[in-house]
């Protein structure tokens, strides 16, 4: 139902939670459940490596080349003991099994870092949140208003959790939102949840596009005077 016109003057990119904790097959605590279904886990790892990372790199390149803002989100507790998180999250977030201790990757810990292949460059905003959705646990709305961003391209992990919550709330708050499906990944074996998010999002909240579709549409947009001025700086 939503039909979005892309306004490049207000366009920003949000890369959600592509960190060691959530997106690296040898670091995420989900690796401890690999044996349950090695094929599904390895398919997830390949999706990150072969699809999410290259597509995110293409998006980053476009936004950097056109001097449009990029925001990175990171998920994790702000305090080492996670007391800033709600109790169920503190207890259960990414906890792989009943016999494993609660998983912690607070700000500053190695697993909290963004994957180097798509890491932020100096001058790009990194926002830490202790929730799934950025609007529930960070000041992102304030930053977006300050940056003058109304049209948001969103990608990252996990499709049906942090990407879904952030994209829904952004659209519900009035932003025009495009979710880039092939620059997102669910968690291993969660194909149905990934699909449900994309379907519901496209129906009620915003646009769902592939990286190729988006880049092609963006390259067809006539350069505005405001953008030309930015580029001329």
């Amino acid at each position: 139902m939503p039909r979005l016109e892309i306004d490049t003057d207000t366009l920003g990119l949000i890369v959600v939670d592509v960190q060691y904790s959530c997106a690296h097959p040898e670091h995420t605590p989900r690796r401890l459940r690999r044996d349950e279904s090695p094929e599904l886990f390895d398919a997830w790892a390949r999706r990150i490596q072969d699809l999410l990372i290259p597509n995110t790199q293409r998006l980053l390149a476009w936004f950097r080349e056109h001097a449009r803002p990029i925001l990175y989100l990171r998920v994790g507790s702000l305090l080492p003991d996670a007391q800033d998180q709600h109790p169920k999250r503190r207890l259960a977030w990414l906890r792989p099994g009943p016999d494993e201790p609660p998983y912690r990757s607070p700000v500053g810990s190695p697993d909290h870092a963004i994957l180097p292949e798509i890491a932020p460059q100096p001058g790009e905003l990194v926002i830490d949140k202790n929730t799934s959705g950025a609007f529930n646990g960070s000041a992102i709305d304030f930053y977006l208003q300050g940056l003058g961003l109304h049209t948001l391209v969103i990608c990252g992990v996990s499709t049906s959790a942090c990407v879904d919550n952030t994209a829904r709330d952004a659209a519900d708050r009035g932003y025009n939102v495009i979710v880039v499906e092939d620059a997102c990944a669910g968690s291993a074996g969660s194909e149905a949840a990934h699909e449900a998010t994309l379907r519901t999002f496209g129906r009620y909240f915003g646009a769902v596009k592939t990286t190729a579709q988006l880049v092609e549409e963006l390259s067809g947009v006539v350069e505005s005077p405001a953008l030309a001025a930015i580029r001329a700086r």
Partner: protein
């Protein structure tokens, strides 16, 4: 009183929160978008649905008749009997032309373009924006107007809940995978013990309904009878 209620269904090999301790008296019922426009098959979206999407209309209004609307009244009556807070959040614009929506949002453009089309965003004065009459909210039931799907995005609900001492939020209404799911995601993410009442919600298809109840993120899904059975021991004694 405080006590444990069943929380997540067990998943073999996974860490699950099987039970969760709550204060039963800190429970509120949040009913979403149960308005004439969305409930009465002869008004609001009804005639357009019947004319343009007959299969959808047949499914949706049948589901409202059974089980959703009777179940909603059962929930409301349970919360009234136990003197627990009830909040109705309804879709409603504050200004006739939708100027209270973000100027750049596709919803505002849709409103302009669909002036003679599907009346989705109900302006002031539209009789269809009133609550479904059977709800008859008592004076102590809070009625919120929201220009958004989730009242966490378009009202001060979070602050009201904190002031009212609400920790547990029971969520029902329309549509399962739109306002209900978005609100439940926000409530759970913000730390409320969020419970969606599956048989008191409807979507536009069985597939959409399943999408809204199958992939819960920090909220849980219960039936009305499960919810009432589990809450009953914890809500007596004002």
């Amino acid at each position: 009183m405080r006590g444990k209620i069943a929380w997540q269904p067990a998943r073999p090999g996974r860490f699950t929160i099987a039970e969760w301790e709550i204060e039963g008296r800190a429970t509120a019922l949040l009913l979403l978008d149960l308005q004439i426009a969305h409930v009465d098959p002869t008004r609001g979206v009804g005639p357009i649905f019947h004319e343009r999407f007959p299969t959808l209309a047949a499914y949706y209004y049948a589901r409202l008749r059974d089980p959703v609307l009777p179940t909603v009244l059962e929930l409301q009556s349970f919360f009234q009997q136990h003197e627990l807070p009830i909040i109705h959040a309804r879709s409603a614009l504050a200004l006739p032309d939708g100027a209270d929506l973000a100027a750049w949002s596709w919803r505002r453009r849709q409103l302009r373009e669909s002036a003679a089309g599907i009346p989705l965003l109900l302006p002031p004065g539209a009789p269809e924006r009133e609550l479904w009459p059977a709800l008859e909210p008592r004076p102590d039931e809070l009625v919120l107007d929201k220009p958004t799907l989730s009242p966490f995005n378009g009202t001060a609900l979070d602050q009201y809940l904190r002031n009212m001492g609400v920790e547990n939020l029971v969520i029902a209404g329309l549509l399962t995978n739109a306002a209900v799911e978005t609100t439940a995601r926000d409530a759970g993410d913000r730390g409320y013990n969020a419970m969606v009442v599956e048989d008191a919600c409807a979507a536009l298809s069985a597939e959409d309904h399943a999408a809204g109840t199958s992939f819960a993120s920090w909220y849980v899904v219960k039936t009305t009878s499960e919810l009432i059975d589990q809450l009953s021991p914890l809500v007596d004694g004002v």
